[in-house]
Structure formats: C-alpha cells, structure tokens
Symmetry: C2
Amino acid sequence: MFSGAQISLYPMSDDFVAIILGAIKALEPYRANFRIETDDISTLLVGPPEQLFPAMRDLFVAAAASGKHCVLSATVSRGCPGEPDDPICTPISASIADSPLEERIRQARESVDGAALSGQAVAAQFSLYPLGAGHHMDEIYGCIDFLKSSGVFDRSKNFCTKLRGDAGPVFATLSEAFLRFGAPQGHVALDMTVSANSPSAV
Amino acid sequence: MFSGAQISLYPMSDDFVAIILGAIKALEPYRANFRIETDDISTLLVGPPEQLFPAMRDLFVAAAASGKHCVLSATVSRGCPGEPDDPICTPISASIADSPLEERIRQARESVDGAALSGQAVAAQFSLYPLGAGHHMDEIYGCIDFLKSSGVFDRSKNFCTKLRGDAGPVFATLSEAFLRFGAPQGHVALDMTVSANSPSAV
C-alpha cells in the first residue's frame, strides 16, 4: 500500500532558509527508509506509514527550537488508488487497523500515553478524509472517541479538530488517527497544520 | 449548504505580523458577506462558495506584494454533513454544478480564460476530496480534463496537482475545480497551498 506525505515547513523569520536546512538534518535517521523529493512547494516523503509522523515530529521540533514562530503543513495519504504499490511503503509492524474498533481505540490511547515528551509545546489542527468505499461512520465516531480522550484534544472547529500539548503526544495522536481508523486497505487522507511559538497563541 | 475555509498566511519574514495585518485589509470588501473568526492557527471564512477563492486571492496577492516569500494554506469545504445550514452560505448565483459534465468543463475553462491578471506569479498545489456517496469517478476525470487545459497546469504530483501562473487564473482554476465538480449538494473538501517569491522556485 502506497503511503507518504507532502510536507512543508514555514519559519516566520528572515532566516527561514537556514532554519529549514538545519531542521532537515533531523530527517537523517529516517532517510534510509524513505524516498524523499523536494520542489519549491513541498517535500515528498514516501515510506512506511508508522514512520511518517515520527519523522515530521523530529523535523518540526528541530525547526521550533529556533524559537521562531514555525508551522509545518502536510498532506498525508495511504492507500491512494492509482499510486504504485511501492515495497518501501510496507508497514514495519503488522496491520494495526484490523482488530475490533473498541480494541483499536484502547491501543491508540495506550500509544499516546506512552509517547515521549519533547519539551516543545505545539498547537495543531487536522482533517481526516476516509475516501471511497469500505469506510463506515462507526470508524469516524470511534476516532472522535479516541481524540477526545487523547489528553491533547483542544476543540472541534469547522472542518477540522484542534489539538494542543507537547509535540510528542500531539504527533502520536495524529499518527494513531491516521493509522488505526478507516478501512485497513482503504484510501485515507489527512491534512494537518502544526504551529509553535505563535505570538497569538492563547 | 454550509461552505467556508480555514485559511492561514505564512510570510517567511521577521515582519510577519505586520505583513499579515496589512494583507487582511484586502478582505474588507468581502467582510459583509462572510462570518470571520480567527485563532492562533487559522482564520475561518464562512460564506458564499463563489467568493471564497476571490477573497483568498486578494489576501494572498496583498501579502506577496511585500516581496517576501509568502505561503497561503487553506482547507476549503462545502456541504459538510453536521455543519448548520447557514443562510450566509447561499450561493449568489444559481447552482453551477448541475449541468452535464462536458458543459461544466467548457464553462470552467471560460471562467479561467476570463480571469483578470494580478501581476503576481504564484505556484500552487491542491488535493480535491469528494466525500460520501453521490460522487463518481467521471467527475474526477472531468476535473482533471479541465485542469490540464486550464493554461496553469504544471504537473501531477503524488497526492496532489500542481499549478503555476498568474494568481488571477490560478485562483480561478482552484475555484472552478471546487465549485463545478462533484455532486452539487455533496460534500467536497479541497486542501491547497499557494506560494510566491520562493527562493527555490524553478
């Protein structure tokens, strides 16, 4: 199953080029597992679905350590029809979306509870799109149950859900929402925005 | 039908607050038609679907006039189930998605051909998500036909389509993709990124 993300990093600083180039070094430990392509709008990561959010977390925490207001924006996708079935995208662990819904909600909560703290406070919002057939509203409601008990739920907004907390559990929550809900082999897309050091944070 | 967008503006500059506050003045002509709410991550625009992209275009062109590298990122939605049916969202013109597909492709091309040039060069990428029942692959393929003949098509990328050209026809193309394809009363979401003055633009 093809999985990957188009990611962009926006440091609100005259030094944005240096901050981006510095932060990209945080992707080194992941580089062997991913195909990475960059153009003037975004960087494509193609690889194992469970490593997408840890890679984005490390990239973002490195940029936010500059102290500047930074935002990461990404479009994440798995099972997109028409994309080649790339061996690099093989999940490292067995499929984690094929047990009963209640069990997956419990597993998702446990993963977030066990996420290491990064020391970086962030706010995030995201929209989850289960596409095509084979999805059920039960999956969406189950995911919402999980989000509300994740410990980083902030509020529901129009078109998206807002999270707030340490980057560790926030990125873990995004990853769990993406991996554990929706049909295991179905097409799921997620669009997300993560912000740190905003002068207008409340 | 509820329609609106969560939009964020990212000037890669130490002066980002001043650039954002200056650019927001470009929304004044639209203010009477929209409900607008801002928090630390995004600004919600709720209002008539045909005015969403002109409002985003004027906001972005105003920010890009700073000469700084600026990005606008937005999640745009119409017909989202669970959202209230708000009179402010009533389309100003009659529904434009209920004529035959060939006719809509022709109308979309005409709209883009007639778009006024802004003098601002931009690159953009977007993903279109027709959600729920009532959508057909014919609609997606029809939209792709339109995009390829829009005059601003750049290339297909993983998970998204990239456009390049003057902000006028680029935002007009995004608007036509959003308004004219997918079921007229169906749920359609679009996530988009528009960039100007990038030092890595090719």
